[in-house]
Symmetry: C2
Subunit: 407 residues, 2 copies
């Protein structure tokens, strides 16, 4: 089947299900490629709906809404993993190109399906078991020791649906609430890493350097690219692991592989099959961003170069903080953006246009340079200021950060 | 007056008059800043209208359309210079912030007004005269020698409205057609340069490195950043000239100063008060792009760093060529984009989504690196392929351009 082209531009239309910040940033990338992302958004004020020209309002669980957004699009892809798999199969049966396909995406939707697939492939992962009885949990913990980690197989993200369980009493409550669970050993880890790889239907892959993700409470706060101090052998092994998984699962588009680094190597934690928070640094930090690459991959275009544009790149998330609380009487967002720009003229802002709520991912900032402590301090202080309205003392008179070439 | 903020985002709305590629790329930059550019577009299929969420359809010569797009916006700015100055004055009288203001913009609209202002400021420019009689033209040419350059004071761009006139006969025809003309000496130049500077209402300025613009038939084909071989003293002098002009004319937003480099220094050719083709390289090539900087400047935000991200950056325009002709039976645009990506995985594409016509600016590409001949060859070959569907033999088997980190 020939790719349908927009008669106005002579180029294909990509439809993305979900109107969050990933769709918003994918639209930005689409603009450069001569395209305009079509977005299925739950409401008119979602992050992507505020900036995209071609917005369909509807729910991702509504098959008719999915059929509508797919009409005339070259491919349907996703801003999140929550589209029911039976709806994806229905679209595929009707001949709609879906990327990643249902057969791949289920591994990002269901952690038990992922564990089974990785076990079958012999890839490194934590000790795990599917448990639906207290006896099963006790047996598993008997082998690995308490505490164990219990996860709901579906629906969790940003630390939700993940429980560190110290004893059988807490396990009882979770089992009653959730039924079947995934039990995992609590991994003694050095840190968390992530690898992002893009794969096209043709089978071309492109992988970015391995990054370190700094998590707090299961939520990503910072990404350091490349992962500091990771030796070349380990980095290559992690990239090869990500490529093998992408190939084996038949991923089309972006795959983020979240890893635990341990004393003995890496273990696979989770997968995401879409642009991912661990890849936001690529917008400025790599020759091809994850968002452009995702579009290239799902359209079966050749992939772009993934070389870094600076020796060190740090991305820091802006999570709703003090300034997002009810009754905040410090500087408003517009004022904070002014001060951010004055303090850090070389830190790049990405603000998602979302309503401010504590803990919510509202934006991110990216700093580039050559000295990790300096770059990291700049990114985290800038993100903290946007979230909390507080300037770190170290940056209160940061006159070394002047506008270059300014007279 | 407090800046009006969009209640959905807590951030200001910038309205841009004109729906061309400059508005399209400004919208991309707005997305990162948490904003969504409001665009006044002549039609629904204009370059920016295809990608922006907040599009008002209307004519830039219609005061009611201008009032409509200004409603609730923090500031009104421009994708082109063609808004009647009396309309700008009417908006200003009604309290609408307009950037650049009418008092500045008239210098980009009317070449005679510019010449008078530069003369009053003592800035270097070609010998010139306002002429409306054959005697006047003959007197001017008597002093400078034939050929002379005759320009319509208003409405010209991309070489339109500029005539190299060899003798009095041709001058006669132009005078009959246009009435008052600007006569200029034909400058013996080394090459053309451009400087871009941003200025905020507060008076902060930020200037990018001086670039060389490679023109053919009055149309920009390539931009080389920084201008090759320009000594530091000349570069600084050109930057200072641009800053003086921005200050003196009270420019708010981007100012592009087009210069002739001669054996004796630089002369001011023309001004543009908006993002400009000579600054497209800044999207990937500078820490802050001209589009982001224009938004920051018109909003009176602090300006961003203008440092280059690579030693050499080359932008090449894609002008409608053989592939835009009627009856073209080579690869269609979508196929050409495929081949472009396969050949040049590290060259960045910016396609404007416009209908393809010979000579029309359809997009541009940007290459980065450290060796000017190599970077330039890559950019120009890629642009030529997109325009003509022809691969330069030197690039037919360019297997050195592989996807980095690809396995």
């Amino acid at each position: 089947m020939a790719t349908p082209l927009d008669p106005r531009t002579g180029l294909p239309v990509v439809a993305m299900v979900g109107g969050g910040q990933l769709a918003r940033m994918t639209h930005q990338a689409a603009v450069a490629l001569g395209q305009s992302l079509r977005v299925l958004s739950a409401g008119p004020d979602e992050s992507a709906a505020l900036v995209a020209a071609d917005v369909h309002l509807g729910d991702h669980r509504d098959l008719d809404a999915l059929r509508d957004v797919a009409e005339g699009a070259a491919v349907v892809t996703f801003d999140h993993e929550h589209v029911p798999i039976e709806h994806l199969r229905a679209l595929e049966s009707a001949g709609v190109p879906v990327a990643p396909g249902s057969g791949a995406l289920v591994h990002a939707q269901d952690k038990l399906v992922l564990r089974r697939a990785l076990a079958a492939a012999g890839e490194p992962q934590p000790a795990w078991a599917e448990v639906d009885t207290l006896t099963g949990i006790a047996d598993f913990a008997g082998a690995t020791g308490w505490p164990i980690v219990l996860k709901t197989p579906r629906g969790g993200y940003d630390g939700r649906g993940v429980f560190v369980v110290p004893d059988v009493d807490e396990a009882t409550a979770l089992l009653e609430r959730h039924g079947t669970l995934l039990a995992e050993e609590r991994v003694v880890m050095v840190r968390e890493l992530a690898v992002q790889v893009a794969r096209s239907p043709f089978g071309q892959v492109a992988v970015w350097p391995v990054v370190e993700t700094v998590q707090r409470g299961g939520v990503c706060h910072e990404v350091l690219a490349p992962a500091p101090g990771l030796d070349e052998h380990c980095a290559t092994a992690a990239q090869e692991l990500a490529i093998r998984i992408a190939d084996r699962l038949g991923v089309v588009g972006l795959l983020a592989v979240e890893l635990f680094e341990t004393a003995d190597g890496v273990l696979v934690n989770e997968l995401a099959m879409r642009p991912h928070n661990s890849g936001h640094w690529t917008i400025e930090g790599a020759r091809t961003s994850q968002f452009e690459q995702h579009l290239r991959a799902v359209l079966d275009y050749p992939l772009g170069a993934t070389t870094m544009t600076a020796p060190v790149v740090v991305m820091a998330n802006v999570l709703g903080g003090a300034a997002a609380q009810e009754g905040w009487n410090g500087p408003c967002l517009d004022e904070r953006v002014h001060h951010f720009m004055a303090h850090w003229p070389d830190v790049k802002l990405h603000w998602y246009g979302k309503g401010q709520r504590p803990g919510r991912k509202l934006g991110h900032v990216t700093a580039l340079g050559s000295d990790l402590p300096e770059v990291r301090a700049r990114a985290t202080a800038a993100a903290r200021y946007l979230a909390e309205g507080v300037v770190d003392p170290a940056f209160a008179f940061a006159d070394e950060h002047r506008v270059a070439d300014e007279h």
